[in-house]
Amino acid sequence: MKPLSNRQLDHLRQLAAHPDFNSTKYRVIKELGRGGMGTVYLATDGELNREVAIKVLSVPELDDSLRERMIREAQIIAQLEHPGIVPVHDVGTLADGRVFYAMKYVRGSRLDEYAAEAESLKDRLRKFQAVCDAVAFAHAHGVIHRDLKPQNIMIGSFGEVLVLDWGVAKILRQHERPVSLEADTLIKNPGDTTNGTVIGTRNYMSPEQARGEINQLDERSDVYSLGAVLYFLLTDKPPATTRPRTVNPKVSKAAEAICLKAMSLEAPARYSSAAELSSDVGKLLDAEPVAAYQESVVEKVGRWAGKNRFLILLVLAYLVMRIFLILTSRS
């Protein structure tokens, strides 16, 4: 046998690592992207003759029980019906034991690509609020995403916002109306996720998630990640310890306060839910006082003036007219 060169060996390893979908109804067209959690492929669903995005997970320490749990969780997440959530169509296991998820293939731009096209801060905040709403819907159903980042958020062809990749999401608790019988089973066994396993993306994951405290994670962990996404939208830079206004002086104090509150290192100091965060962002967009920031009197007046600019102009115009009339009648 001729010895294999390093180059041949690298090629063969890549070849062997390529997922074998032969036992499934999917045929891979091309690789779409690669991340720490796995690789996403564009594939054709042979039965329904449509294109899907398939993520093959490469989660460390994927033992049988964790794999089963991930499959069960995916089954529940697939039932989350919201215009801002790209659902999981299918879940399965490849011959080598790797778990894969088939999702709707979304055409559009990722949030980071969208932001690069110099959209206004207000537009960015509107998109961000839509992201919060989609995540809040999942939270209301007891599901946390655990891997929120600009690369997992798509802006569709019609400007719609879609949160992708619920492949590593976690079921926290039972919704008032159980979405499936499996959900009951999960909630009765909340401890079967391996503590110490770090799942997510550095820069965007909460401190508790980075420490691998899986059992401590709740909605506020996603709130941290949303805060990190907001940081990116405000500054065009990945989240860092530098305050947003230092990076981009155009950011208002209230917007910065919302971002910093969401990204508080301690979970209790954050917004308690994505809905609360969304509400504060909505207030910011409507030029109303936000919960995260205590304004001074001058700032209150300034915000009120900014919000009621048209009314102030009308009053001023009226006053000028009156003065003009008074002066002309005297002369």
Binding site: R7, Q8, L9, L12, L15
Partner: protein, 251 residues
């Protein structure tokens, strides 16, 4: 020593023994024949990286490395060392390397070659090829552990390739392997090989080239995973090793 003197890589047929069962588990069997077959699988999977590692880490010449490799496996078989492996503590690869380091250290301390009578050939192993590969791929910047792993990966893929070639021959699909060899084993000139050029060369339709290559790659993937399953004790170890074998860039 009660071992088949004709033991070679997979016996006289020069085939890698395929059991689809973990040789590591079978090494604990009460049946001596089963234990021997398990040992042959482990020997076949590890002798070359062991030889190269001894050369690399312990800086011994090729004759001493041969003796130490022979001696290590003979000793392991005689004392049934591999049955002591505990999957909960480490991977089998780490266990084997630790045993090897202990063995070499002891042998060197005792002036082993003289004491044991150097040059005894317990197993027929192709040390000539091992030595030429060592000369070709010894990279001093690697740690001994990384070097061992890299050479084990190289050996596993070499064995899988040989098994693929054999499987294609046995099933009358020689052309599958020839195409695989021309396209996927092309070294420096892969850019010059296309499906179209292969189709012309082999007198086939490009779609047939595509299908044959896909089948060969699928078969190759299956073989490599089967081999891995044979030399891992648990499902978890299998997955960890699969990730390590398939998912890490070579250093």
């Amino acid at each position: 020593m009660n071992i088949d003197p004709d033991t070679d890589i997979g016996g006289g047929q020069h085939r890698f023994p395929v059991t689809n069962q973990s040789a590591i588990v079978l090494a604990r069997s009460d049946d001596q024949n089963v234990r021997q077959r398990a040992f042959e699988t482990i020997l076949a999977s590890y002798w070359k990286p062991v030889y190269k590692y001894v050369r690399f880490k312990w800086h011994v010449d090729n004759e001493d490395a041969k003796d130490l490799t022979q001696g290590f496996f003979a000793n392991a078989f005689e004392k049934n060392h591999f049955a002591n492996y505990d999957a909960a503590k480490a991977s089998f690869q780490t266990f084997l390397r630790t045993c090897l380091d202990g063995f070499v250290a002891n042998e060197r301390k005792a002036g082993a070659r003289i004491k044991r009578g150097g040059g005894i050939e317990h197993f027929q192993l192709d040390f000539v090829s091992a030595e030429s590969e060592f000369a070709l791929h010894a990279v001093s910047s690697l740690t001994p552990e990384d070097y061992f792993h890299r050479e084990w990966v190289r050996w596993m893929f070499t064995l899988a390739l040989e098994a693929l070639r054999q499987s294609c021959e046995d099933t009358g699909k020689k052309m599958h392997f020839q195409l695989f060899e021309r396209y996927d084993l092309a070294d420096d000139n892969r850019e010059n090989v296309s499906y179209a050029s292969l189709a012309q060369e082999f007198g086939l339709d490009p779609s047939v080239v595509n299908n044959y290559l896909a089948a060969a790659r699928r078969n190759f993937r299956r073989i490599i995973l089967e081999k891995l399953r044979e030399i891992t004790a648990t499902e978890e170890e299998f997955r960890n090793e699969a990730r390590s074998l398939l998912g890490v860039e070579l250093k």
